[in-house]
């Protein structure tokens, strides 16, 4: 599911059994407490490094492993007209650092069973590592991570190689109707806003790429004041502080990235049609949606759930898939970003059903914005969102994702503690009000990628 939208969480990773008599009374209290609220949120510890990086830490002692993730405001929104720059810079960090070749870096991590992660999305660019906490392994993993993060060499040969690989990624997009549709959708929804920038770049933008631009991008954005460090695992606070210091203290303080421009609302409906020889038409419909910390965020989150966010029990699945058998996958979601990310409805259907599917999709949205959810629909959604809360943070990986997000978007540190309360505070009036103000069925972007014109008829 495209659940990058979903925010839920909680639960105290550790639920120890009474180990001694002294512990027992405490545990009983925990159990009593549990029967009312199901679980407690993790205690997030937070501090700032001397050079300005923000740190969020959750100790998790059950498994002898550690995750460290450093997130920078250096995603594709910072491409500044040269799409692909963020992704290329991020990918080159581990392709040569502190005099080591990419081969030597990979060997260093893999010899101790460590897994490096790196990624660049719209807002965030991140680097991190998962390692065993046994010190002979962990120290190598942390030292290598530090080199990758703070001493990348950006060697010319690695640059050329990775640039060539991105050119293949651009080609790959042209044999994927969903990737073509997604790119066109972002471009139409965001226009000249930086969120329109396609992650892998374009043929044109990659022609204009230079190594100097990569170095300059790194120098500007991979700095402590622009960094959030998330750390989850089997270490104590003092160890976490040492690890964070070891990894980021060599980063220059630098400056926080400038605010992004606001996303402008759509002024009119737009339709993008791309001819592609596929058996299905890929459809995206949407518009700018909501941002992190938005006053309507929780209302819209709950509103979307029964509409297209709850999988099998959503209206879209009910109408498009169950009643009309038009699609295997149909959904809607808000992708909250630093500025307003998209509200997206998506589906794929056999070519000759395209018009029927589009009409149903639009009809459903219009009706929902006008009438809002039914009472029992809303009740079911409320009970799903609140009841599934413990599942959202039942592992170190999930927890890491949440605290990185909380730190990166400057959400309140008690965001998880208050999540359920914020959800429960939403009522049908708030939903109807938010839907009417924020979703405009007459100003939607519609992208269709599939066979156009003659030859629409597929063999049954």
């Amino acid at each position: 599911m495209h659940s990058n939208t979903i925010e839920v969480q909680l639960e105290n990773g550790s639920r120890t059994k009474p180990a001694s008599k002294i512990m027992r009374s405490f545990s009983l209290m925990v159990l009593l407490f549990s029967s009312f609220s199901v679980s407690a949120t993790p205690q997030i510890q937070t501090w700032q490094t001397e050079n300005g990086a923000k740190v969020l830490f959750v100790p998790a002692k059950e498994i002898p492993m550690l995750d460290v993730r450093i997130v920078f405001d250096a995603g594709t929104a910072r491409d500044a007209g040269l799409s692909g720059l963020s992704v290329l810079t991020n990918g080159l960090l581990s392709e040569g650092a502190a005099g080591k070749t990419s081969q030597q870096i990979a060997e260093a991590f893999e010899a101790v069973g460590a897994e490096i992660e790196y990624d660049a999305a719209r807002d965030m660019a991140l680097v991190g590592v998962r390692s065993l906490t046994e010190s002979r392994y962990l120290s190598t993993a942390i030292e290598t991570l530090k080199q990758v993060l703070t001493q990348p060499d950006f060697p010319q040969d690695a640059y050329q190689r990775e640039l060539n690989r991105m050119k293949i990624a651009v080609k790959a997009r042209k044999q994927s109707p969903s990737a073509l549709a997604s790119k066109a959708f972002y471009e139409a929804v965001f226009g000249d806003h930086p969120y329109a920038s396609p992650a892998s770049g374009t043929r044109e933008s990659l022609e204009k790429m230079t190594l100097e631009k990569v170095r300059a991008f790194y120098k500007q954005y991979y700095v402590a004041n622009n960094a959030t460090v998330a750390i989850v695992g089997n270490v104590d606070r003092w160890q976490a502080e040492e690890i964070v210091k070891a990894v980021v203290s060599a980063l220059p303080a630098g400056e926080k990235a400038a605010p992004l421009p606001e996303v402008k609302p759509m002024t009119e409906a737009k339709k993008i049609v791309i001819d592609y020889p596929s058996t299905q038409t890929h459809i995206f419909v949407g518009q700018p949606g909501t941002k992190r910390g938005d006053a309507d965020y929780f209302s819209l989150y709950v509103a979307n759930h029964p509409f297209g966010g709850s999988g099998f029990t959503s209206r879209l699945v009910d109408v498009i898939r169950e009643d009309n058998a038009l699609a295997y996958s149909v959904y809607s979601y808000f992708s909250p970003l630093r500025e307003a990310g998209p509200f997206t409805m998506g589906m794929q259907t056999k070519t000759d059903q395209t018009e029927q599917a589009l009409e149903l999709l639009n009809q459903q949205l219009k009706k929902y914005v006008e009438e809002g959810p039914e009472k029992d629909e809303l009740a079911a959604s409320m009970s799903n969102i609140t009841g599934s809360f413990p599942l959202k943070i039942d592992s170190n990986s999930k927890l890491l994702g949440y605290i990185a997000m909380i730190g990166f978007y400057d959400l309140p540190i008690d965001y998880l503690d208050n999540f359920l309360g914020n959800i429960r505070a939403v009522d049908v009036k708030m939903i109807n009000d938010a839907l009417k103000r924020r979703i405009h069925p007459d100003k939607l972007v519609t992208v269709v990628v599939g066979k156009q014109g003659n030859g629409e008829k597929e063999k049954p």
């Binding site: 639920r15 293949i168 226009g191 299905q280 169950e322 799903n384 039942d394």
Partner: protein, 476 residues
């Protein structure tokens, strides 16, 4: 997950992650709360429990011993279609109600079909165990098979096939590669089924398949998470214990016939990038092999896959992606756990201007190197270090742990083998790796598939950044 079934995904999953996927547990001394506790009901149904008290949640999975490899020509895809029908209601809980109840109780649910299994799962708060059991017991025996629902759901499945296979050049190539690589093995057929077969399936086919295979004596329940094994056994007995058994057909063994020489195919499709797949017939871990000398060969094959593609430092990345810079990506995979003989697969995407023959030559060259020169100890140590670490990391997912034992049990292997997995990997020597390469990676076991792109009309689509595209292409 949004998808009712991750059939196609799972096929790719096991192929691309093969050797990492079937790790075991264990290296953590004090945390033995991953141990599997088992119980069998008098009707033959097996119950496996992995207690893990980190969070007040659990995952419940029911595994049926049936999947695409149980099918025969003409009804391909029936296991997967039946999986979809399992959400279409019983007398007690009409269509849609199963999902509604799970959702209202804060659960997540789905199902997936593979070559050797069909499985259904829920992730939910630990105090909802009984509810889940009641629902799963009901649909093990009481699906109603409404014809109208079937006809609609079949269309949904066809859309799924279009999405996952027909419109994905590499997936379609891989499907045809399997169809050629295997001569008579059931693995030559796609899990989702041929479209031509889907067109002819009827509700009676689905009902018959259900009545044949869905019974307590052909199922295993796995529950992992914050539960007590005793509670699970007691509730299982209460809800599944009364269900009648079926006489489960015994399938013939269907060993893959001998291959004579390298097999080749070309798949021509609208696409932009060529793609190469090479598969060598490879043995699997059968119950008979467990504990014998031959078993070590299989672990050696997994280490061999690791030497080639165990991380970014491994040979394919080192020599083909970097080094010669002829591959955009290259991978090797092998998994020993399956019901039938499988494939040791190499696949790669060439860089621009690199002929596919050059890439094939380079992959063969990597294999020849292993056949003639012993891999060095540091390389083997890196592969093994990653296996050891993965044993620890996997504890972060109870779902994965449940899946591991469920899958082993369902393909007929003692799930206890997972406890010895690391030890056996650690015991693999460089000489053994070389021996299995010489024995199994031979031309008379090889099939080569090449995707040759045909024009797809997107040469000019998509080249530019936002502004110009939206400016030009606006209609309406």
């Amino acid at each position: 997950m949004n998808m009712k079934s991750i059939a196609g995904l799972l096929a790719i999953f096991t192929l691309s992650l093969g050797w990492v996927l079937y790790n075991s547990d264990e290296p953590i001394p004090e945390h033995s709360d991953e141990a599997v506790q088992s119980y069998q009901l008098s009707n033959g149904m097996k119950i496996l429990v992995i207690e893990n008290h980190r969070a007040p949640v659990m995952v419940s999975q029911i595994w049926y011993k049936v999947g695409a490899s149980y099918e025969h020509d003409g009804i391909t895809g029936i296991s997967h279609v039946l999986e979809h029908m399992m959400f279409k209601g019983t007398e007690e809980h009409p269509a849609g109600e199963f999902s509604e109840i799970i959702a209202a109780n804060g659960g997540e649910e789905n199902a997936f079909t593979g070559q050797d299994f069909t499985a259904y799962f829920q992730k939910i708060a630990n105090d909802r165990l009984e509810l889940v059991m009641e629902l799963e017991a009901d649909r093990m025996r009481n699906i109603t098979f409404d014809e109208k629902e079937f006809i609609k759901e079949l269309e949904v499945v066809k859309e799924e096939r279009r999405l996952r296979t027909d419109d994905k050049p590499t997936a379609l190539t891989y499907e045809r590669f399997n169809a050629v690589a295997y001569t008579n093995s059931p693995y030559r057929r796609p899990i989702v089924g041929w479209m031509e077969d889907l067109d002819t399936l009827t509700v009676d086919d689905a009902r018959e398949w259900y009545e044949t295979w869905y019974a307590p004596n052909n199922a295993t329940l796995v529950v992992a998470g914050d539960v007590l094994a005793g509670d699970v056994f007691r509730l299982a007995k209460q809800y599944f214990g009364q269900l009648p058994t079926s006489e489960i057909p015994e399938l013939k063994s269907r060993h893959e016939a001998k291959q004579y020489g390298t097999q080749r195919l070309t798949v021509e499709l609208p696409a932009k990038i060529p793609y190469l797949v090479m598969g060598y017939k490879a043995p699997i871990l059968t119950p008979e092999v467990v504990g014998t000398e031959q078993e070590q060969e299989l672990y050696a094959l997994e280490v061999l896959a690791g030497v080639l593609d165990g991380g970014n430092s491994a040979r394919l990345s080192k020599n083909l992606v970097r080094g010669q810079e002829i591959a955009n990506s290259a991978s090797a995979s092998y998994g020993m756990t399956a019901r039938h003989e499988t494939l040791f697969v190499l696949s790669a995407v060439p860089n621009d201007e690199v002929a596919i023959e050059v890439l094939e030559f380079a992959l063969r060259d990597e294999i020849n190197t292993i056949k003639t020169q012993l891999p060095d100890d540091k390389e083997l140590d890196r592969v093994k270090a990653q296996v050891v670490a993965a044993q620890v990391y996997k504890q972060d997912s109870t779902f994965y742990q449940a899946m591991e034992v469920g899958m082993l049990d369902t393909i007929g292997l003692p799930w206890k083998i997972k406890d010895d997995y690391v030890e056996k990997i650690l015991a693999v020597t460089a000489v053994q790796v070389q021996q299995v390469a010489n024995k199994y990676l031979t031309d008379d076991r090889l099939t080569v598939a090449v995707l040759e792109p045909l024009p797809n009309g997107t040469d000019d689509a998509d080249n530019t950044d936002a502004v110009s595209l939206t400016g030009e292409k606006n209609a309406q």
